[in-house]
């Protein structure tokens, strides 16, 4: 058995080791990046935010609706996860910058090692961006659903009531109009009549009404009660909700577009990994070295010296 033992050449072993390492990295990166788009990430699935389309939100004045939704979002796990991924990707960006500088200064094996490291960090960075996009998409979808539910509630509220109730409301409106038109005439009649005179209710009502009117004017002029406006034109609540819906639709469309950027980045990392793998493989084979081929010699003497 001892005759079969071959003493390993350390240089050859190292070469095989390097080759295997680079192939392994290339396969690993390729596999990970190929699946990148379809893999659900931890944060995107676990981080939650479940706002409710309550009556309170509909009744909020002006742009306070959006502020209330944003404030609710900031308290959620989803916001924490989003902030965390953003901070992590910022850190990763600086790591990538440092690594790139180090690669420029390094050479030989260290350079290859750093390039491997750089590829791994780029892969992690793309993963983080993907995670961040998933969270942003989730936020936009939740907001979109919330605003759509609020809009639905608002329109249901406007169209609420049976035909009988609607008829009653129209009767009441007509009665109100008729009452308002005859109000001054009735007041005149009361003033003319000595026996009737102005009642305590009428006097108190008029006094309270002037107080209410001044308060209503103050409420309307209050800066916190300003109606949302678009290009200087005041928006109704349903218009405002529709503008919020379209803003979130735009956010979703942009995230989709950013997904394409990410896919290209992933593809480039994969190609870089492949190129690095080939480079290391070729270097380990040392093609510039003189060929190991021994010149063939034919032992002619065995044939002619008989």
């Amino acid at each position: 058995m001892n005759n079969l033992y071959i003493d390993p050449d350390p240089e050859q072993t190292k070469r095989i080791h390097d080759r295997l390492k680079s192939i392994f990295i290339a396969i690993f990166l390729g596999a990970v990046l190929a699946c990148l788009i379809s893999i659900p990430f931890a944060y995107a699935t676990t981080a939650v935010w479940a706002p409710t389309a309550s009556e309170r939100l509909i009744k909020l004045p002006g742009q306070h609706l959006e502020k209330a939704v944003e404030s609710d979002f900031r308290k959620s796990e989803l916001a924490t996860a989003l902030e965390e991924t953003e901070a992590n990707s910022q850190l990763k960006q600086s790591t990538l910058g440092d690594l790139q500088k180090a690669i420029e200064q390094a050479d030989g094996e260290t350079r290859v090692e750093l390039q491997h490291q750089f590829l791994l960090e780029k892969k992690n960075y793309v993963e983080m961006l993907k995670e961040n996009q998933d969270l942003r998409r989730k936020r936009a979808r939740i907001k979109l659903r919330l605003y759509e539910r609020l809009l639905g509630k608002l329109s249901r509220k406007k169209q609420a009531g049976s035909p009988q109730q609607k008829h009653l409301v129209s009767l009441q409106e007509n009665a109100q109009a008729r009452f308002q038109s005859s109000l001054s005439k009735v007041d005149m009649k009361l003033m003319q009549s000595v026996a009737m005179g102005t009642s305590r209710y009428s006097q108190e009502y008029a006094r309270n009404m002037s107080a209410i009117e001044s308060l209503v004017a103050a409420v309307n002029a209050h800066p916190s009660n300003q109606a949302p406006a678009l290009n200087g034109i005041a928006l109704s609540q349903s218009d405002y909700l529709r503008s919020l819906i379209s803003r979130n639709e735009a956010e979703l469309a942009l995230v989709d577009q950013e997904r394409i950027i990410l896919a290209h980045m992933a593809k480039l990392i994969s190609l870089d990994a492949l190129a690095l793998s080939e480079e290391t493989q070729l270097a380990s084979q040392d093609l510039d070295a003189p060929s190991d081929d021994v010149p063939r010699s034919y032992v002619v003497e065995y044939f002619i010296n008989q």
């Binding site: 009988q164 109730q165 009653l168 009767l171 009441q172 009665a175 009452f179 005859s182 009735v186």
Partner: protein, 128 residues
């Protein structure tokens, strides 16, 4: 925290009590109107007394009618009482409608229920 909860609860309850107290404006109007019609039709009253009573009740009726028309709790309240009240403005808001049409309360009511001088003259006595 508990104290705050109880304060808000009591405030909500008092608001509810106030709201339910205001819900009787239409019933009050109906009662006053019934008294007015009773005064109109009563055979026991003299002309002067009837006139004085009608004027007093008329003033109260104007206030009550205004209270009903300004009562936000009645808006869209689909009950038979509210439906019946708003079906006929001339009969429910008798005082306002009569002044609007420059008629006395009695004339306006009689006219609204279909009893005019002409119809009374045209009427003939008979067995039903």
């Amino acid at each position: 925290m508990k104290l705050l909860f109880f304060i808000s609860l009591s405030a909500t309850l008092s608001l509810f009590v106030l709201a339910s107290a205001e819900a009787g404006s239409l019933e009050n109007l109906e009662r006053e109107r019934a008294i007015l019609i009773d005064t109109m039709l009563s055979g026991d009253l003299g002309i002067k007394e009837r006139q004085a009573r009608l004027e007093t009740t008329g003033t109260r009726l104007i206030d009550l009618e205004r209270m009903v028309l300004r009562d936000k709790s009645l808006a869209g309240k689909n009950t038979s009482l509210v439906q019946a009240a708003f079906q006929n403005y001339d009969l429910t808001f008798l005082a306002h409608a009569s002044i609007e049409q420059d008629r006395s309360l009695t004339d306006h009511w009689l006219n609204s229920v279909g009893l005019s001088t002409q119809t009374l003259f045209n009427a003939s006595m008979g067995r039903r």
